[in-house]
């Protein structure tokens, strides 16, 4: 008989390891997007004039690609610190929304754990977690926690790994490869499979048109406007669908 090792009490048991695996497998296709974005962001950080050590510090602590990329033109023009903070917050508004949706599943945990889970949560963790547990009546189960861990840990590793690679290797990649476009394609690969219902299609159309029209707005406020517009469009379509359905039956 093989010797039995004592595993620490926090270590996931067999069923929980399956939840970790499920999260990891669901996150796998999005890791391509995360890695590409990380790599491209790493390149952009050093190309904008940050030293390699500053860029590495930023990527490891801020851990928010769009906020980092937004800050670069502001840093280059020596913008005031409050403006950079405000711009970062606007770009990160989506995380407030995601956090509000995820909080009921983790409210029973201690505050340091909640702080860690919140800080490590990502767009993809939100999308995948809500797709799996959004309709679930049981909230706060160990399976949900471990599924979440199965997403956010590989996300953190691949984001930071590829960011650092971008920072230290980026200067060797010729601009003619247009690697920035791979990041756009990677984002499209996330969006397209999400758009399956009519409210989602309306959300996509309204958000897309809003984002295009609002481009001249400063501080990427067009992004915030697109989120508001897309959410309103999705909810209105959903409400109309329900009403039509009720009228018919």
């Amino acid at each position: 008989m093989a010797p039995r090792y004592r595993t620490p009490s926090w270590w996931p048991d067999g069923r929980q390891r399956q939840s970790v695996r499920a999260g990891f497998l669901d996150a796998l296709s999005t890791l391509v997007a995360t890695s590409t974005w990380g790599f491209v962001t790493g390149i952009a950080l050093v190309k904008s004039g940050l030293t390699e050590s500053m860029a590495a510090l930023m990527t490891l602590t801020v851990y928010a690609g769009s906020a980092q990329l937004t800050s670069l033109p502001l840093i280059e023009s020596s913008a005031p610190l409050w403006l950079i903070f405000a711009a970062g917050t606007v770009v990160n508004i989506r995380f407030i929304i995601f956090g509000a949706a995820l909080q009921p599943y983790f409210r029973h945990m201690s505050w340091p754990k909640r702080l860690g889970l919140g800080y490590l949560s990502t767009d993809m963790a939100f999308v995948l977690f809500m797709a799996r547990y959004g309709e679930s009546r049981d909230r706060g189960t160990p399976d949900q926690f471990w599924y979440f861990m199965g997403i956010i840990i590989p996300c953190w590793v691949s984001w930071n790994g590829f960011s650092l690679m971008g920072i230290y290797l980026g200067s060797f990649v010729p601009a003619s490869w247009s690697l920035d476009f791979a990041a756009i394609l990677a984002l499209m690969a996330i969006i397209i499979p999400l758009v399956k219902t009519r409210p989602m299609v309306m959300c996509l159309l309204v958000a897309g048109v809003t984002a295009w029209v609002c481009q001249p707005l400063p501080l990427r406020l067009g992004l915030a406007a697109a989120v508001v517009g897309g959410v309103v469009a999705g909810v209105l379509t959903e409400t109309l669908q329900h009403r039509n359905h009720r009228n018919r039956t």
Binding site: V62, S66, F85, F95, G99, Q103, S178, A189, L194, W212
Partner: protein, 116 residues
């Protein structure tokens, strides 16, 4: 470190503030959500936020405003359409990235050879 103390302090302050930004926006609800309740209908609405945010990042990148106005169908837009077509036919998200990049490279090479 650049040796320019003022610049280094500025960059470090930016990094510290953006880190604070990440912590507040991401962990704020995780920490204080019980005191900032959201109704079920709001939660329902929030399901549309990720799609809207992602498209809000992609659209200005693909179709930036141009001085002469209007939408220009350049190689990037055409490659994106090829990528969407590939997903529609194959349901493969990897092909969106690989196929889209290949399409961009082919279109760029072709436009370099053909003087419009």
């Amino acid at each position: 470190m650049t040796g320019n103390d003022e610049y280094d302090v500025y960059i470090l302050a930016v990094i510290a503030l953006l880190t604070l930004c990440s912590v507040v926006t991401r962990a704020g609800y995780f920490l204080f959500g019980d005191h900032l309740p959201l109704t079920e209908s709001v939660r329902r609405a929030l399901r549309y936020a990720p799609t809207a945010a992602l498209i809000g990042i992609v659209v200005p990148e693909l179709l930036p405003w141009r001085a002469e106005g209007g939408v220009v169908l350049d190689a990037r837009v055409l490659a994106a359409l090829v990528a969407i077509f590939l997903f529609w036919r194959t349901r493969s998200t990897l092909l969106v990235i690989v196929g889209g990049m290949a399409a961009l490279w082919i279109l760029k090479a072709a436009s370099a050879m053909v003087p419009w």
